[in-house]
Symmetry: C2
DNA sequence: ACGCTAGTTGACCGATCGGTCAGAGTCTGC
DNA sequence: GCAGACTCTGACCGATCGGTCAACTAGCGT
Protein backbone atom coordinates (compact mmCIF):
# COMPACT_ATOMS: atom_id res chain seq x y z
CA UNK A 1 0.00 0.00 0.00
CA UNK A 2 3.03 2.22 0.08
CA UNK A 3 3.04 2.73 -3.67
CA UNK A 4 -0.40 4.32 -3.76
CA UNK A 5 0.61 6.82 -1.07
CA UNK A 6 3.83 7.71 -2.84
CA UNK A 7 1.92 8.28 -6.04
CA UNK A 8 -0.72 10.39 -4.29
CA UNK A 9 1.97 12.52 -2.70
CA UNK A 10 3.86 13.04 -5.94
CA UNK A 11 0.65 13.77 -7.80
CA UNK A 12 -0.56 16.33 -5.27
CA UNK A 13 2.75 18.14 -5.41
CA UNK A 14 2.58 18.35 -9.19
CA UNK A 15 -1.08 19.33 -9.27
CA UNK A 16 -0.36 22.18 -6.86
CA UNK A 17 2.63 23.56 -8.73
CA UNK A 18 1.93 22.89 -12.42
CA UNK A 19 -1.82 22.42 -12.29
CA UNK A 20 -3.99 19.38 -12.91
CA UNK A 21 -4.15 19.83 -16.66
CA UNK A 22 -0.47 20.63 -16.82
CA UNK A 23 0.59 17.47 -15.03
CA UNK A 24 1.10 14.26 -16.98
CA UNK A 25 0.76 10.79 -15.57
CA UNK A 26 4.19 10.08 -16.98
CA UNK A 27 5.72 12.87 -14.93
CA UNK A 28 3.96 11.76 -11.76
CA UNK A 29 5.21 8.22 -12.32
CA UNK A 30 8.76 9.40 -12.95
CA UNK A 31 8.68 11.58 -9.85
CA UNK A 32 7.54 8.67 -7.68
CA UNK A 33 9.83 6.15 -9.32
CA UNK A 34 7.23 4.01 -11.06
CA UNK A 35 6.02 3.40 -14.60
CA UNK A 36 3.03 5.23 -15.98
CA UNK A 37 1.10 1.96 -16.13
CA UNK A 38 1.53 1.53 -12.40
CA UNK A 39 -0.24 4.81 -11.76
CA UNK A 40 -3.24 3.58 -13.71
CA UNK A 41 -3.10 0.26 -11.91
CA UNK A 42 -3.58 1.93 -8.51
CA UNK A 43 -6.00 4.60 -9.73
CA UNK A 44 -8.63 4.13 -12.39
CA UNK A 45 -7.88 7.45 -14.07
CA UNK A 46 -6.06 10.75 -13.68
CA UNK A 47 -9.18 12.25 -12.15
CA UNK A 48 -9.53 9.37 -9.70
CA UNK A 49 -5.95 10.03 -8.63
CA UNK A 50 -6.77 13.66 -7.96
CA UNK A 51 -9.82 12.68 -5.96
CA UNK A 52 -7.85 10.23 -3.85
CA UNK A 53 -5.10 12.79 -3.31
CA UNK A 54 -7.29 15.59 -1.94
CA UNK A 55 -10.01 13.53 -0.27
CA UNK A 56 -8.28 13.44 3.14
CA UNK A 57 -8.18 17.23 3.18
CA UNK A 58 -11.87 17.52 2.38
CA UNK A 59 -12.72 14.92 5.00
CA UNK A 60 -10.70 16.88 7.53
CA UNK A 61 -12.64 20.08 6.88
CA UNK A 62 -15.95 18.22 7.01
CA UNK A 63 -14.99 16.75 10.38
CA UNK A 64 -14.00 20.07 11.89
CA UNK A 65 -17.18 21.63 10.58
CA UNK A 66 -19.33 18.80 11.91
CA UNK A 67 -17.75 19.09 15.35
CA UNK A 68 -18.44 22.81 15.38
CA UNK A 69 -22.04 22.49 14.24
CA UNK A 70 -22.81 19.63 16.63
CA UNK A 71 -21.22 21.39 19.58
CA UNK A 72 -23.70 22.21 22.32
CA UNK A 73 -21.84 25.34 23.38
CA UNK A 74 -23.74 27.60 21.02
CA UNK A 75 -21.85 29.88 18.67
CA UNK A 76 -19.97 32.06 21.09
CA UNK A 77 -17.00 34.09 19.97
CA UNK A 78 -14.72 31.68 21.77
CA UNK A 79 -16.10 28.72 19.88
CA UNK A 80 -15.87 30.55 16.59
CA UNK A 81 -12.28 31.42 17.33
CA UNK A 82 -11.62 27.77 18.06
CA UNK A 83 -13.12 26.93 14.66
CA UNK A 84 -10.77 29.38 13.00
CA UNK A 85 -7.80 27.84 14.80
CA UNK A 86 -8.68 24.35 13.64
CA UNK A 87 -9.28 25.54 10.10
CA UNK A 88 -5.86 27.20 10.09
CA UNK A 89 -4.36 23.92 11.26
CA UNK A 90 -6.01 22.15 8.36
CA UNK A 91 -4.83 24.80 5.91
CA UNK A 92 -1.27 24.20 7.05
CA UNK A 93 -1.58 20.42 7.10
CA UNK A 94 -3.21 20.12 3.69
CA UNK A 95 -1.81 23.21 2.04
CA UNK A 96 -1.23 21.54 -1.31
CA UNK A 97 -4.75 20.13 -1.51
CA UNK A 98 -6.19 23.50 -0.46
CA UNK A 99 -4.17 25.22 -3.12
CA UNK A 100 -5.39 22.83 -5.80
CA UNK A 101 -8.98 23.27 -4.74
CA UNK A 102 -8.93 27.04 -4.50
CA UNK A 103 -7.02 27.78 -7.68
CA UNK A 104 -8.42 25.07 -9.92
CA UNK A 105 -11.71 24.23 -8.28
CA UNK A 106 -13.79 25.98 -10.88
CA UNK A 107 -12.26 24.05 -13.75
CA UNK A 108 -12.48 20.84 -11.73
CA UNK A 109 -16.11 21.16 -10.70
CA UNK A 110 -18.00 18.01 -11.49
CA UNK A 111 -15.60 15.75 -9.63
CA UNK A 112 -17.46 14.47 -6.57
CA UNK A 113 -14.75 15.42 -4.10
CA UNK A 114 -14.58 18.95 -5.47
CA UNK A 115 -18.32 19.37 -5.09
CA UNK A 116 -18.05 18.04 -1.54
CA UNK A 117 -15.37 20.62 -0.84
CA UNK A 118 -17.56 23.36 -2.28
CA UNK A 119 -20.49 22.65 0.02
CA UNK A 120 -18.09 22.36 2.95
CA UNK A 121 -16.68 25.81 2.22
CA UNK A 122 -20.15 27.29 1.89
CA UNK A 123 -21.17 25.84 5.21
CA UNK A 124 -17.93 27.07 6.71
CA UNK A 125 -18.66 30.56 5.47
CA UNK A 126 -22.14 30.40 6.96
CA UNK A 127 -20.77 29.17 10.28
CA UNK A 128 -18.16 31.90 10.47
CA UNK A 129 -20.22 34.79 9.21
CA UNK A 130 -23.30 33.74 11.15
CA UNK A 131 -26.45 35.30 9.75
CA UNK A 132 -24.65 38.52 8.88
CA UNK A 133 -24.56 38.43 5.12
CA UNK A 134 -23.44 41.91 4.18
CA UNK A 135 -21.10 42.40 1.25
CA UNK A 136 -18.36 43.30 3.69
CA UNK A 137 -18.68 40.02 5.55
CA UNK A 138 -18.58 38.01 2.36
CA UNK A 139 -15.54 39.93 1.19
CA UNK A 140 -13.82 39.48 4.52
CA UNK A 141 -14.39 35.73 4.47
CA UNK A 142 -13.25 35.43 0.88
CA UNK A 143 -10.10 37.42 1.51
CA UNK A 144 -9.30 35.47 4.67
CA UNK A 145 -9.53 32.00 3.18
CA UNK A 146 -8.22 32.87 -0.25
CA UNK A 147 -5.42 34.95 1.17
CA UNK A 148 -4.36 32.29 3.62
CA UNK A 149 -4.30 29.65 0.93
CA UNK A 150 -2.35 31.91 -1.38
CA UNK A 151 0.13 32.74 1.33
CA UNK A 152 0.80 29.09 2.08
CA UNK A 153 1.74 28.18 -1.47
CA UNK A 154 2.18 30.72 -4.22
CA UNK A 155 3.12 33.41 -1.75
CA UNK A 156 6.47 31.81 -1.15
CA UNK A 157 7.60 33.05 -4.52
CA UNK A 158 8.23 36.58 -3.31
CA UNK A 159 8.04 36.33 0.44
CA UNK A 160 11.38 34.63 0.97
CA UNK A 161 13.49 37.75 0.81
CA UNK A 162 15.38 37.11 4.01
CA UNK A 163 14.22 33.94 5.73
CA UNK A 164 10.72 32.69 5.31
CA UNK A 165 8.94 32.11 8.60
CA UNK A 166 8.59 28.80 10.35
CA UNK A 167 5.36 26.87 10.07
CA UNK A 168 4.74 27.57 13.73
CA UNK A 169 5.30 31.28 13.27
CA UNK A 170 3.00 31.16 10.29
CA UNK A 171 0.36 29.28 12.23
CA UNK A 172 0.33 31.79 15.05
CA UNK A 173 0.27 34.76 12.72
CA UNK A 174 -2.51 33.26 10.63
CA UNK A 175 -4.64 32.46 13.66
CA UNK A 176 -4.33 35.99 14.97
CA UNK A 177 -4.75 37.81 11.69
CA UNK A 178 -7.58 35.74 10.28
CA UNK A 179 -9.55 36.05 13.47
CA UNK A 180 -8.79 39.75 13.23
CA UNK A 181 -10.06 39.98 9.67
CA UNK A 182 -13.25 38.07 10.34
CA UNK A 183 -14.20 40.15 13.36
CA UNK A 184 -13.65 43.69 12.05
CA UNK A 185 -14.68 45.83 15.00
CA UNK A 186 -17.01 43.88 17.18
CA UNK A 187 -19.31 46.87 17.26
CA UNK A 188 -19.26 48.38 13.77
CA UNK A 189 -17.45 51.67 13.41
CA UNK A 190 -18.44 52.42 9.82
CA UNK B 1 -5.28 44.71 -35.40
CA UNK B 2 -8.63 43.62 -34.10
CA UNK B 3 -7.84 39.95 -34.47
CA UNK B 4 -4.86 40.06 -32.11
CA UNK B 5 -6.98 41.72 -29.43
CA UNK B 6 -9.77 39.20 -29.80
CA UNK B 7 -7.27 36.38 -29.49
CA UNK B 8 -5.62 37.95 -26.45
CA UNK B 9 -8.98 38.35 -24.75
CA UNK B 10 -10.07 34.80 -25.49
CA UNK B 11 -6.70 33.45 -24.40
CA UNK B 12 -6.68 35.36 -21.12
CA UNK B 13 -10.14 34.07 -20.28
CA UNK B 14 -9.08 30.49 -20.91
CA UNK B 15 -5.76 30.85 -19.08
CA UNK B 16 -7.61 32.17 -16.03
CA UNK B 17 -10.25 29.46 -15.92
CA UNK B 18 -8.53 26.31 -17.21
CA UNK B 19 -4.92 27.30 -16.66
CA UNK B 20 -2.11 27.96 -19.12
CA UNK B 21 -1.09 24.33 -19.51
CA UNK B 22 -4.70 23.25 -19.72
CA UNK B 23 -5.55 25.62 -22.54
CA UNK B 24 -4.93 24.57 -26.13
CA UNK B 25 -4.28 26.93 -29.00
CA UNK B 26 -7.07 25.15 -30.84
CA UNK B 27 -9.56 26.02 -28.13
CA UNK B 28 -8.46 29.65 -28.01
CA UNK B 29 -8.83 29.87 -31.78
CA UNK B 30 -12.27 28.27 -31.70
CA UNK B 31 -13.39 30.61 -28.94
CA UNK B 32 -12.28 33.67 -30.89
CA UNK B 33 -13.57 32.40 -34.22
CA UNK B 34 -10.24 31.82 -35.96
CA UNK B 35 -8.12 28.88 -37.03
CA UNK B 36 -5.26 27.64 -34.89
CA UNK B 37 -2.79 28.77 -37.54
CA UNK B 38 -4.03 32.33 -37.20
CA UNK B 39 -3.13 32.38 -33.54
CA UNK B 40 0.43 31.43 -34.37
CA UNK B 41 0.51 34.02 -37.12
CA UNK B 42 -0.19 36.85 -34.66
CA UNK B 43 1.87 35.42 -31.81
CA UNK B 44 5.13 33.56 -32.17
CA UNK B 45 4.18 30.91 -29.62
CA UNK B 46 1.72 30.03 -26.88
CA UNK B 47 4.01 31.66 -24.35
CA UNK B 48 4.27 34.82 -26.42
CA UNK B 49 0.48 34.96 -26.47
CA UNK B 50 0.40 34.75 -22.69
CA UNK B 51 2.97 37.49 -22.39
CA UNK B 52 1.05 39.78 -24.71
CA UNK B 53 -2.17 39.05 -22.86
CA UNK B 54 -1.00 39.97 -19.36
CA UNK B 55 1.56 42.64 -20.24
CA UNK B 56 -0.92 45.55 -19.97
CA UNK B 57 -1.76 44.51 -16.42
CA UNK B 58 1.88 44.38 -15.39
CA UNK B 59 2.53 47.74 -17.03
CA UNK B 60 -0.40 49.20 -15.10
CA UNK B 61 0.99 48.04 -11.77
CA UNK B 62 4.44 49.32 -12.67
CA UNK B 63 2.98 52.72 -13.51
CA UNK B 64 1.03 53.02 -10.29
CA UNK B 65 4.06 51.96 -8.32
CA UNK B 66 6.31 54.42 -10.15
CA UNK B 67 3.90 57.28 -9.47
CA UNK B 68 3.83 56.40 -5.80
CA UNK B 69 7.60 56.09 -5.45
CA UNK B 70 8.28 59.30 -7.41
CA UNK B 71 5.69 61.28 -5.47
CA UNK B 72 7.22 64.06 -3.45
CA UNK B 73 4.56 63.83 -0.73
CA UNK B 74 6.54 61.35 1.32
CA UNK B 75 4.90 58.14 2.45
CA UNK B 76 2.11 59.45 4.60
CA UNK B 77 -0.83 57.25 5.49
CA UNK B 78 -2.99 59.20 3.08
CA UNK B 79 -0.65 58.49 0.18
CA UNK B 80 -0.38 54.85 1.09
CA UNK B 81 -4.15 54.63 1.19
CA UNK B 82 -4.26 56.21 -2.25
CA UNK B 83 -1.82 53.55 -3.44
CA UNK B 84 -4.09 50.83 -2.10
CA UNK B 85 -7.07 52.40 -3.87
CA UNK B 86 -5.29 52.45 -7.21
CA UNK B 87 -4.05 48.90 -6.76
CA UNK B 88 -7.61 47.77 -6.03
CA UNK B 89 -8.71 49.51 -9.23
CA UNK B 90 -6.08 47.59 -11.16
CA UNK B 91 -7.09 44.33 -9.52
CA UNK B 92 -10.64 44.87 -10.72
CA UNK B 93 -9.61 46.03 -14.18
CA UNK B 94 -7.15 43.23 -14.83
CA UNK B 95 -8.66 40.54 -12.65
CA UNK B 96 -8.05 37.75 -15.14
CA UNK B 97 -4.39 38.63 -15.62
CA UNK B 98 -3.94 38.96 -11.87
CA UNK B 99 -5.51 35.57 -11.36
CA UNK B 100 -3.23 33.96 -13.91
CA UNK B 101 -0.16 35.53 -12.35
CA UNK B 102 -1.01 34.69 -8.75
CA UNK B 103 -2.17 31.13 -9.28
CA UNK B 104 0.25 30.04 -11.99
CA UNK B 105 3.11 32.45 -11.58
CA UNK B 106 5.43 29.93 -10.00
CA UNK B 107 5.07 27.47 -12.84
CA UNK B 108 5.38 30.30 -15.36
CA UNK B 109 8.50 31.87 -13.92
CA UNK B 110 11.09 32.38 -16.57
CA UNK B 111 8.79 34.29 -18.87
CA UNK B 112 10.04 37.89 -18.90
CA UNK B 113 6.67 39.43 -18.13
CA UNK B 114 6.16 37.12 -15.17
CA UNK B 115 9.53 38.08 -13.75
CA UNK B 116 8.63 41.73 -14.25
CA UNK B 117 5.44 41.17 -12.32
CA UNK B 118 7.35 39.46 -9.54
CA UNK B 119 9.66 42.38 -8.95
CA UNK B 120 6.72 44.76 -9.15
CA UNK B 121 4.89 42.83 -6.43
CA UNK B 122 7.98 42.76 -4.25
CA UNK B 123 8.40 46.52 -4.58
CA UNK B 124 4.71 46.96 -3.90
CA UNK B 125 5.04 44.96 -0.72
CA UNK B 126 7.99 47.07 0.34
CA UNK B 127 6.09 50.26 -0.41
CA UNK B 128 3.04 49.19 1.56
CA UNK B 129 4.75 47.57 4.50
CA UNK B 130 7.40 50.28 4.75
CA UNK B 131 10.45 49.14 6.63
CA UNK B 132 8.36 47.11 9.07
CA UNK B 133 9.22 43.57 8.11
CA UNK B 134 7.72 41.49 10.88
CA UNK B 135 6.15 38.16 10.08
CA UNK B 136 2.78 39.67 10.79
CA UNK B 137 3.24 42.40 8.21
CA UNK B 138 4.32 39.93 5.56
CA UNK B 139 1.37 37.72 6.35
CA UNK B 140 -1.02 40.64 6.23
CA UNK B 141 0.24 41.76 2.85
CA UNK B 142 0.12 38.25 1.46
CA UNK B 143 -3.41 37.67 2.68
CA UNK B 144 -4.57 41.03 1.37
CA UNK B 145 -3.32 40.66 -2.17
CA UNK B 146 -3.87 36.93 -2.47
CA UNK B 147 -7.28 37.14 -0.90
CA UNK B 148 -8.37 40.00 -3.11
CA UNK B 149 -7.25 38.20 -6.22
CA UNK B 150 -8.95 35.02 -5.11
CA UNK B 151 -12.16 36.86 -4.34
CA UNK B 152 -12.28 38.45 -7.77
CA UNK B 153 -12.10 35.19 -9.68
CA UNK B 154 -12.31 31.82 -8.03
CA UNK B 155 -14.34 33.19 -5.15
CA UNK B 156 -17.37 33.57 -7.36
CA UNK B 157 -17.82 29.84 -7.25
CA UNK B 158 -19.41 29.85 -3.84
CA UNK B 159 -20.13 33.51 -3.17
CA UNK B 160 -23.11 33.82 -5.50
CA UNK B 161 -25.65 32.33 -3.16
CA UNK B 162 -28.10 35.16 -3.45
CA UNK B 163 -26.83 37.92 -5.70
CA UNK B 164 -23.15 38.55 -6.09
CA UNK B 165 -22.21 42.16 -5.43
CA UNK B 166 -21.68 44.81 -8.09
CA UNK B 167 -18.18 45.70 -9.16
CA UNK B 168 -18.64 49.08 -7.50
CA UNK B 169 -19.79 47.49 -4.26
CA UNK B 170 -16.83 45.16 -4.48
CA UNK B 171 -14.44 48.01 -5.15
CA UNK B 172 -15.60 49.98 -2.13
CA UNK B 173 -15.56 46.95 0.15
CA UNK B 174 -12.09 45.95 -1.04
CA UNK B 175 -10.67 49.44 -0.57
CA UNK B 176 -11.98 49.62 2.96
CA UNK B 177 -11.12 46.10 4.04
CA UNK B 178 -7.68 45.91 2.48
CA UNK B 179 -6.66 49.21 3.99
CA UNK B 180 -8.02 47.80 7.23
CA UNK B 181 -5.98 44.63 6.96
CA UNK B 182 -2.74 46.41 6.12
CA UNK B 183 -2.97 48.86 9.02
CA UNK B 184 -3.81 46.52 11.92
CA UNK B 185 -3.66 48.69 14.99
CA UNK B 186 -1.59 51.75 14.29
CA UNK B 187 0.36 51.24 17.49
CA UNK B 188 1.25 47.55 17.84
CA UNK B 189 -0.51 45.63 20.56
CA UNK B 190 1.65 42.49 20.45
C1' DA C 1 -2.80 44.67 -65.24
C1' DC C 2 0.86 44.16 -62.06
C1' DG C 3 3.49 42.94 -57.80
C1' DC C 4 3.60 43.36 -52.97
C1' DT C 5 2.07 42.81 -48.34
C1' DA C 6 -0.95 41.36 -44.60
C1' DG C 7 -4.21 38.07 -43.01
C1' DT C 8 -6.06 33.55 -42.90
C1' DT C 9 -6.27 28.77 -43.49
C1' DG C 10 -5.85 23.41 -44.06
C1' DA C 11 -2.56 19.91 -44.37
C1' DC C 12 0.93 18.10 -42.05
C1' DC C 13 4.86 17.04 -38.48
C1' DG C 14 6.94 14.76 -34.31
C1' DA C 15 5.92 14.49 -29.61
C1' DT C 16 3.11 13.59 -25.92
C1' DC C 17 -1.30 12.91 -23.91
C1' DG C 18 -4.62 9.53 -21.06
C1' DG C 19 -5.73 4.92 -21.23
C1' DT C 20 -5.70 -0.44 -22.51
C1' DC C 21 -3.79 -4.87 -22.37
C1' DA C 22 -1.14 -8.93 -22.19
C1' DG C 23 2.26 -10.62 -19.84
C1' DA C 24 6.28 -11.16 -16.09
C1' DG C 25 7.83 -11.29 -11.26
C1' DT C 26 6.75 -12.24 -6.48
C1' DC C 27 4.53 -13.97 -2.68
C1' DT C 28 1.20 -16.89 -0.29
C1' DG C 29 -1.60 -21.09 1.00
C1' DC C 30 -2.06 -25.75 -0.16
C1' DG D 1 5.16 -28.13 -6.98
C1' DC D 2 1.44 -25.48 -8.15
C1' DA D 3 -2.51 -22.34 -8.37
C1' DG D 4 -3.95 -17.88 -7.61
C1' DA D 5 -3.86 -13.21 -6.26
C1' DC D 6 -1.20 -8.89 -6.22
C1' DT D 7 2.00 -5.68 -8.20
C1' DC D 8 4.46 -3.84 -11.79
C1' DT D 9 5.77 -3.00 -16.51
C1' DG D 10 6.57 -2.26 -21.85
C1' DA D 11 4.20 -2.15 -26.01
C1' DC D 12 0.66 -0.17 -28.07
C1' DC D 13 -3.71 2.76 -29.27
C1' DG D 14 -6.28 6.93 -30.98
C1' DA D 15 -6.44 11.66 -29.94
C1' DT D 16 -4.51 15.92 -29.25
C1' DC D 17 -0.69 18.86 -28.35
C1' DG D 18 2.40 23.14 -30.09
C1' DG D 19 4.34 24.45 -34.20
C1' DT D 20 5.67 24.69 -39.52
C1' DC D 21 4.63 25.53 -44.18
C1' DA D 22 2.75 26.44 -48.64
C1' DA D 23 -1.15 28.21 -50.67
C1' DC D 24 -5.02 31.24 -51.04
C1' DT D 25 -7.47 35.64 -50.60
C1' DA D 26 -8.11 40.62 -50.39
C1' DG D 27 -6.56 45.19 -50.61
C1' DC D 28 -3.47 48.85 -52.40
C1' DG D 29 -0.11 51.68 -54.77
C1' DT D 30 1.66 52.07 -59.45
Amino acid sequence: MRAADELKHAALEQFATVGFAGTSLQHIADEAGYAKSSVLYHFASKEALLEAAIEPAVAGFEDVLAVFLAGRGGRSDARRRELVDRVVDLLLEHREAVHVFLTQGQSLSGLPVIDRANVAVRRLAAAVCEERESVDDQVRFGIAIGGAAFLLTAGRTFADESTLPTDDELRDALRRIIADILTPARTPSN
